[in-house]
Symmetry: none
Subunit: 125 residues, 4 copies
DNA sequence: GTGGTCTAGACCACC
DNA sequence: GTGGTCTAGACCACA
C-alpha cells in the first residue's frame, strides 16, 4: 500500500477502512484484520495500525472483542456518515465559500463547473 | 486574530494578505506592515510572519526593499489569481464533487448551504 | 452472557459462580458444570473457563475430582465471605468515600442512587 | 514519580493532572509542562506523555497552541467533574451495590461504615 | 523551542 | 493467537 505524505498514515488507513464500510465490502459484525496481520500486509508498523484501530474504536466504528479481534459495529455506517457530513459542512464548505469570494466566483459559475464535471463523468462511462 | 487548526498559521496569514490584495485594499506599490508590526498586531511570533513574507516573496507577490520594507509587486494580482484559480479548478473542485457524491449531497442542497452562509454573513455585518 | 470491559472475563465468570454459592443456588458438594459445558453455555473460550476454575481451585473454593469434575468445597462459603468482606472494607470502601468527597456527593445522595437502583431492579423482575 | 503497575502509566499521569486542576494548582489558561520536559521530569518516555496529552486534549481538558505548548481549557473543571460523576454513577455504583448484595450488607451497615470513616477522619485532624 | 508521527522491538495480560 | 502499553530513537513541520 502506498501513502500520500501530507496525511498521517494512520489516518489514511482509517479512511481506507471507512470507505470499505461505506462501500459495503465490510459490513457490521465483520472482523477486521488483526493488528499484526494488517500491519504486515500493508507494510507498516503494528503501532501505527494500533493507532488507527484505537481511533476508530473511540469513534464507535469498530469494537474490540478481547483476545479475538476488532469487529465493525452495527452503527458504523451511520456514525461515519454523520462524521463526514458535519466535517463537510463545518470545515469544508466555509473554506469553499471563502475561496469563491476571494476569486470572485459566484454560484452560477460554480454550477457551470458542476455541469461540465457531470458531463465529463457521463462521457467516461 | 484567530486561526484554524488544520492549516499552518503562516499560510493563513498569507491568505489574509492575498485576500486584501484581491479585494483591492492593498494595491501594487503599497507597503505592507513590517514583520514586527504585523506580528504584534495579530499576536503571533515574528518568525511566523517572517515565514509568510518569505513565502509571498518567493511567489513574486511582494518584494523586499532593503531597509525600507516589503511592497506589493505590480504583478501580484495576476499571480494570485492564476495560482488560486488553477488550484481551485484542478484540485479543489474535483474533490468537492467527489465528496458530495459520497455523502449523497446534490447541487440543490449545496445551494441551500450557500444561501444560509450568505445570510449568516449579512447578519454579522 | 455479557461482560464488562474493565474486568477480565475469567474474573467475571468467577464472580458469577461466587454469587451462586453465596446465594445458595450452589452448595458444598455440588458439581459445577464441566469446562466445555460451561464454555459453550456462556459462549466463551474453554481456556477462559479453565482459567476461572484454576483460579477458584487455588482459592480453595472448588476442588477437582479427577475424571469426574469440579465440586464446591465445604469451606467455600466461609472463604468467599472472608475474601470479599475484608477486601470490601479495607480496599473498596475507603476508595468509595474518597471518591464521594472529591465529587462532593454526600451520603443522602448515595442513598437516593441506592433507591433508584433498587427500584430499577424490581422493575426488571 | 512512582507508578502503580495495575493502571497504565499514561492514565496515571492524566489522573495526576486532573487532580492538579481540581485542586486548583493548575487553573484555566495555565501552560502545562512540555512533552519533553514532563517526560524527563517524571522519568518516562516522551511518547507516553504525548499519549496522556492527546487523551486529555480529546476530552477537551487541555488544548494545544501550536509551537507553544498545551494549556488548560476554560471548561476543564466542568468536564472533569462531569466525567468523574458519570463514571461514578454508571461504573462504580452498580459494582458497589452488586457487591453489597453478594455480601448481604444492607444500606444501614454501609452507613455505619461511613460514620466510623468520618469519625476516624475527624480524629486525625 | 514546540508537538506529531513513525519505526523497531520488547513485555504483558488475556482468550 | 489477540490487543495494549512502553521504551528508545529518529525525523518532520511549525512557531
Amino acid at each position: 500500500m502506498e501513502f500520500r505524505k501530507n496525511l498521517p498514515i494512520y489516518v489514511q488507513i482509517a479512511d481506507y477502512l471507512l470507505e470499505s464500510i461505506l462501500s459495503g465490502s465490510l459490513t457490521p459484525g465483520d472482523k477486521i484484520p488483526s493488528v499484526r496481520e494488517q500491519a504486515s500486509q500493508i507494510e507498516v508498523n503494528p503501532n501505527t495500525v494500533m493507532r488507527t484501530y484505537s481511533y476508530l474504536q473511540d469513534q464507535g466504528i469498530i469494537q474490540n472483542k478481547r483476545g479475538i479481534g476488532y469487529f465493525v459495529t452495527d452503527s458504523a455506517e451511520k456514525i461515519i456518515d454523520d462524521m463526514k457530513k458535519t466535517d463537510f459542512i463545518n470545515e469544508y464548505l466555509p473554506e469553499l465559500f471563502k475561496t469563491m469570494e476571494m476569486l470572485k466566483i459566484d454560484f452560477k459559475q460554480l454550477e457551470q463547473y458542476y455541469q461540465t464535471h457531470k458531463a465529463k463523468q457521463n462521457g467516461n462511462q
